[in-house]
C-alpha cells in the first residue's frame, strides 16, 4: 500500500520544528508501524539524509518506550495498543498520516518524535515506592490481600509510563499516570506505611513538573494502551484529600531514636 507521511522533524530541544512530507510507495500491511518507519529511515540513510528519531525498546507493547501521535491520537487509531504493536493493516491505501511527538511542557522534545519523560521518573521518585526492611524476604503468601484489591492494584500497575495519558489530555495532565501508581501501592498492605506521604509528595511533584490538571474528560482512559481507568484518579483525590488533612511530615532528624 501507498502512504503519505507528515512527520515532525526537529533537530534538537532548542530548535524550531516543522512537518516534513514523505511518500511511502511500498508499505506492507503486515509491518508494524515502527517497522514502517525503519524502512523509511533505511531509505533516508541511503539518500544521506538524517533518519527520523523515535524511541523504542521491547517492541512487544510492554516497556512504555515508544509512543507518538498518529493523526492526533497517541499510539494511533487502534485502542489498547502501543505504537510498536500497531500494524499497517489498520490503515488504508493512499492514506495521509500526521505523525508528531507527545506535546507537554513536562515532555520537552529531544529530537523529532522523541521526548524527555524524565518528569515521570521524578514523580515516581517523589513517592512511588514502598520501603522494605532488609534481611530475610517475607513469604509471598504471608500477607493476606483481599482479592478485589489485588485485582485493582494489578490493573493500576499495568501502567507502562508511556505518557499517552498526558499526550491525549486537553490539559496535558499527568493525573492518570500519578493516580495509577498511588492506587497500585495504596491498595496493597505493603503500601500503607507511606500512603499519606506518597499522595502529598507525588501530587506536589506532578505540579512542580508543570503538568496540567484533570477536568475529567476521560480521554486518557480511552487512549491508555493498558486500559488504566480514571477511577484511579478519584482514588488519588481521596487519598490526597485525606492526607492534606491528617498528614504529618516527619520532624525529627533521620536516625534519631
Amino acid at each position: 500500500m501507498k502512504l503519505t507521511l507528515n512527520i515532525w522533524r526537529q533537530k534538537g530541544p532548542n530548535h524550531p520544528g516543522r512537518m516534513v512530507k514523505y511518500e511511502m510507495p511500498n508499505v506492507d500491511e503486515h509491518m508494524s508501524f515502527l517497522e514502517m518507519l525503519d524502512v523509511l529511515n533505511e531509505d533516508l540513510i541511503h539518500k544521506g539524509e538524517e533518519p527520523v528519531t523515535f524511541e523504542h525498546d521491547c517492541r512487544e507493547g510492554i516497556c512504555g518506550c515508544c509512543g507518538f501521535m498518529i493523526n492526533g491520537l497517541p499510539h494511533g487509531p487502534q485502542r489498547g495498543t502501543t505504537v510498536c504493536q500497531l500494524h499497517m493493516r489498520q490503515f488504508h491505501d493512499g492514506e495521509e498520516l500526521w505523525i508528531e511527538p507527545f506535546r507537554a511542557k513536562a515532555f520537552p522534545v529531544l529530537k523529532d518524535l522523541m521526548v524527555d519523560r524524565g518528569s515521570f521518573d521524578r514523580i515516581i521518585a517523589a513517592g512511588g515506592y514502598v520501603s522494605v526492611n532488609t534481611g530475610c524476604f517475607v513469604d509471598g503468601n504471608a500477607i493476606p490481600i483481599e482479592k478485589q484489591n489485588a485485582e485493582m492494584a494489578m490493573d493500576a500497575a499495568a501502567c507502562i509510563g508511556c505518557g499517552a495519558c498526558v499526550a491525549s489530555c486537553p490539559n496535558a495532565s499527568a493525573s492518570l499516570f500519578t493516580a495509577a501508581k498511588i492506587a497500585h501501592l495504596g491498595l496493597l498492605p505493603q503500601g500503607q506505611a507511606e500512603r499519606d506521604r506518597r499522595a502529598v509528595r507525588m501530587v506536589a511533584q506532578m505540579m512542580e513538573e508543570s503538568f496540567g490538571y484533570c477536568t475529567n474528560t476521560g480521554e486518557c482512559e480511552a487512549l491508555c494502551p493498558k486500559g488504566v481507568k480514571i477511577e484511579n484518579i478519584a482514588r488519588m483525590n481521596r487519598d490526597y484529600l485525606k492526607a492534606a488533612i491528617t498528614y504529618r511530615e516527619e520532624s525529627a532528624p533521620a536516625g534519631g531514636s
Binding site: 507528515n6 515532525w8 512537518m19 501521535m69 493523526n71 492526533g72 491520537l73 500526521w98 508528531e100 506535546r103 507537554a104 511542557k105 513536562a106 521524578r122 521518585a125 517523589a126 491525549s168 486537553p170 490539559n171 496535558a172 495532565s173 493525573s175 502529598v200 509528595r201 501530587v203 506536589a204 511533584q205 506532578m206 505540579m207 512542580e208 508543570s210 503538568f211 496540567g212 490538571y213 484533570c214 477536568t215 475529567n216 474528560t217 476521560g218 480521554e219 482512559e221 480511552a222 487512549l223 480514571i230 477511577e231 484518579i233 478519584a234 482514588r235 488519588m236 483525590n237 481521596r238 490526597y240 484529600l241 492534606a244 488533612i245 498528614y247 504529618r248 511530615e249 516527619e250 520532624s251
Partner: protein
C-alpha cells in the same frame, strides 16, 4: 531532584496550591451553585401559575430579610471562588502545553466537557446581566419595583433579551451536563456501580435545567404568558 518540604508549610496553603485542592473547591462551589440553579428554576416556574402566585413567591423571598442576605453572600462567595479556580486552572493548562498539536483528535470527551471554559464565562457574563435586568432593574427599560410578573413579561417581550437568556441557559445546561458528574469525580466519588448513574443524573440535570429555563422566555415570546 526537588525537595518537597511539607512540615512548617501552612496546611491550608498546601491544599489550596495543589491542583486537586483547587478542583475540590471547584467541585464544592459547583455543587452549591448547581443546587441553587435547580431551586431557582423550580421557584420561577411558578410564573406559569399566574401573576398572583408569582408575585407572592417573590414577596416571600424578599420577606426572608437577613436570611436572604446570608444566602446571597454565600452564593456570591461560591461564584467568586468558582471563577477564581477556573482562572487559575486555565492558566496552568495554558502553561502545561505551550506548543499546540498540528493535529489533535478527541475520542470520548464530550463537547460539554471540552467547552467548560467557554460555557462558564458566558454564563458568568449572563449572570451579571440577569441581576441588573430582573433583580435590580438597571438594565430593564420598564422596571416596576415589586411587580415581578410584569417585569418578567415586559423584559422578555424584547426578542434580543429573550434570545440571550435562551442561549445562556443552553450553555448552562452544557456546563451542568459535564459539571454535575465531574464534581463527584473531583471529590473522589467513583465506583463502577454509581459512576454510570451519576453520569446519567448529570445529563438529566443539564437537560431539565436547560428545558425549564428556556421555557420561560419562550412562553413570553410565543404569547403563552401575557400581562
Amino acid at each position: 531532584m526537588s525537595t518537597i518540604a511539607v512540615g512548617g508549610i501552612n496546611r491550608t496553603a498546601l491544599f489550596y496550591q495543589s491542583v486537586i485542592g483547587k478542583k475540590v473547591i471547584m467541585a464544592v462551589t459547583g455543587f452549591i451553585l448547581s443546587g441553587f440553579v435547580l431551586g431557582h428554576m423550580i421557584g420561577n416556574l411558578q410564573v406559569f401559575a399566574g401573576p398572583e402566585k408569582f408575585n407572592a413567591y417573590a414577596a416571600f423571598l424578599q420577606g426572608l430579610g437577613p436570611m436572604l442576605w446570608v444566602a446571597r453572600i454565600a452564593l456570591l462567595a461560591a461564584v467568586g471562588l468558582h471563577i477564581a479556580m477556573a482562572v487559575q486552572l486555565t492558566l496552568l493548562k495554558l502553561d502545561a502545553r505551550p506548543q499546540a498539536y498540528v493535529k489533535k483528535s478527541a475520542l470520548v470527551s464530550t463537547y460539554a466537557a471540552r467547552t467548560m471554559i467557554w460555557s462558564g464565562p458566558i454564563v458568568a457574563a449572563f449572570l451579571i446581566y440577569h441581576l441588573l435586568h430582573l433583580t435590580t432593574g438597571h438594565a430593564h427599560p420598564d422596571f416596576k419595583p415589586g411587580d415581578v410578573y410584569a417585569n418578567f413579561i415586559t423584559g422578555f417581550k424584547n426578542p434580543a433579551v429573550a434570545l440571550f437568556y435562551m442561549v445562556a441557559n443552553i450553555l448552562l445546561a452544557f456546563h451542568l451536563y459535564h459539571g454535575v458528574w465531574s464534581m463527584f469525580q473531583s471529590l473522589g466519588v467513583s465506583h463502577p456501580r454509581y459512576t454510570p448513574i451519576l453520569k446519567r443524573l448529570a445529563q438529566l440535570y443539564g437537560i431539565v435545567i436547560g428545558l425549564g429555563n428556556v421555557a420561560m422566555p419562550m412562553a413570553v415570546l410565543t404569547g403563552i404568558l401575557t400581562l
